[in-house]
């Protein structure tokens, strides 16, 4: 780690004024401290914003407003989240360990970097994300954990967050504040695909800060929702793939389906074609499988991760089948 100045503020305007060039906002530190220590990232200053007000409150429209500095553990255990947005609680609880969830903030979770091992290997691997134009050792390397959708020949990294997969499924909106004023971006549009510039990971502009996340009032498919994570060990591991699913039925037919996938792309992947195909369908395993295959036709597996296509298919079918059974 290179020498670092540390500043702390509990005031949003002060935080925005303090962050100049070479400075980074610091939340729980669970990713950034590690990245700085390993010299994957460098900063001359960190501005600790973890003590900004961290509230969870109902919005005027019946949704939920979550401040960016709310800790992951607090959000997962909040009574309104558990009752109205169960997929979000379950996704948060699937992530990391209890210690890390006690530390990690909502804003930091959204902005965490990929866990691609070549990205972390500063001395031993080429990475276009770390050093644009250097090349990518993951494309032809050990890529069991890498992307099957939306990747490029420049980068095949995945976004590691569980929480963001649930937020994508919930149509969450990210509220931002910066030198140019306040603005809001749907979570599904917040992270960008790598294309030719994998070093650009989000639409966040220099000096901008995530203020909070807003959840719309729970849709019918959100009330019956589930998060299932498939990984190499049963806990405390990043996802191979994960599924945030929701289903609402009426008269024996699907009236709304929501599906977001984790571990498959550089951002949470909404399976929009499947969602559309399932409206009006009789909820059977065959219907679920046919629907998710409409999204997976675009999959471009690498040498080490072709299994993810079948794994996504089976997990989506299992989640939706369970939800169909529970809501009848």
């Amino acid at each position: 780690m290179t020498p670092l100045r540390y500043a702390r503020t509990a005031d949003r305007a002060d935080a925005l004024a303090r962050v100049g060039s070479g400075a980074r906002f610091l939340g729980g530190g669970t990713n950034l401290v590690d990245l700085l220590r390993q010299n994957v990232e460098r900063a001359s200053e960190v501005v600790d914003i973890s003590r900004l007000e961290g509230a969870i409150r109902e919005s005027d429209g019946g949704g939920l407003l979550i401040d960016a500095s709310v800790r992951n553990a607090v959000l997962a255990a909040h009574p309104l989240v558990r009752r109205r947005y169960p997929v979000l609680s379950r996704a948060l609880l699937a992530g990391a360990s209890a210690q890390i969830r006690n530390m990690a903030t909502v804003g930091g979770n959204i902005l965490q970097r990929t866990r691609c091992m070549y990205f972390y290997d500063v001395d031993g691997a080429r990475c276009n994300k770390r050093q644009p134009g250097a090349g990518c050792d993951a494309v032809g390397g050990f890529n069991r954990y890498h992307a099957i959708l939306g990747a490029s020949d420049q980068c095949v990294a995945t976004h590691p967050s569980d929480m963001c997969v649930a937020l994508a499924m919930l149509d969450a909106v990210v509220h931002l504040s910066g030198p140019g004023g306040d603005r809001s971006v749907p979570l599904v549009d917040f992270h960008v695909l790598p294309s030719a510039t994998p070093q650009v990971e989000t639409v966040l502009k220099p000096g901008e800060l995530i203020i909070g996340v807003e959840l719309p009032p729970p849709a019918p498919a959100v009330t019956h929702s589930e998060y299932r994570k498939v990984r190499d060990r049963s806990s405390y591991a990043f996802a191979l793939i994960s599924v945030a699913g929701g289903l609402a039925l009426a008269g024996g037919r699907v009236i709304e389906a929501r599906i977001a996938l984790g571990g498959v792309a550089a951002r949470p992947w909404r399976a929009r074609r499947a969602e559309t195909a399932l409206v009006g369908a009789v909820p059977t395993r065959d219907a679920f499988l046919a629907a998710i295959r409409e999204d997976l036709v675009d999959a471009q597996p690498l040498a080490g991760n072709g299994f993810k296509i079948a794994l996504v298919e089976r997990t989506v079918v299992a989640v939706l089948t369970d939800l169909a059974g529970a809501s009848q």
Binding site: T30, R82, A98, Y236
Partner: protein, 169 residues
């Protein structure tokens, strides 16, 4: 602002890069807290920060200013002797080499408080209701952030079951 470590006020380090773990071990010589991976993957450095279990390796010491830190050196029973969980670890052979033990004990004390609040885990069946019965699966899931290379997990889970039963009684 100072940091309160086991009821003692200490100054934060001059170098902002110093982790809470290195402050404890290298500056304060509280070597009970262990450095395993130093990257948040093993849980050996777990301490209690304002009562919550956290990883001291991924916490900058400066982030703990104004907070209360409790390490294994500050864990005691009601009579000033061993904590009920420390006694249970001895009774159930919850360790072999002992390197992960301070982190396991601090983590389990933090976990007991989370259970008392009714916080759910990934394996809790009814999220809204929270865990009704603390099964072994619940304990294993909640303690998954603490690895034990000796494989003493069965004894660790039994020791935690003892602590939970004793504190519930």
């Amino acid at each position: 602002m100072s940091i309160r470590v086991n009821d003692r006020e200490v100054s934060p380090p001059d170098d902002a890069r110093v982790s809470l773990l290195d402050l404890l071990r290298e500056h304060l010589h509280l070597t009970g807290t262990k450095k395993g991976c130093d990257q948040g993957a093993c849980g050996a450095c777990t301490v209690l920060l304002d009562g919550s279990r956290v990883l001291s390796c991924l916490t900058l010491a400066a982030q703990a200013e104004g907070s209360d830190v409790r390490t294994i050196e500050g864990v005691t029973g009601k009579d000033g002797g061993l904590h009920v969980l420390q006694r249970a670890f001895i009774e159930h052979d919850g360790l072999q080499c002992g390197y992960c033990t301070p982190g396991q004990i601090c983590s389990a004390i933090g976990m007991a408080e989370e259970l008392r609040r009714g916080d759910p885990s990934y394996v809790t069946f009814d999220l809204a209701a929270g865990p009704e019965i603390v099964t072994r699966a619940e304990i294993r899931e909640r303690m998954s952030g603490n690895l034990c290379r000796c494989g003493a997990h069965n004894g660790i889970v039994e020791a935690i079951e003892d602590m939970l039963a004793e504190t519930a009684a």
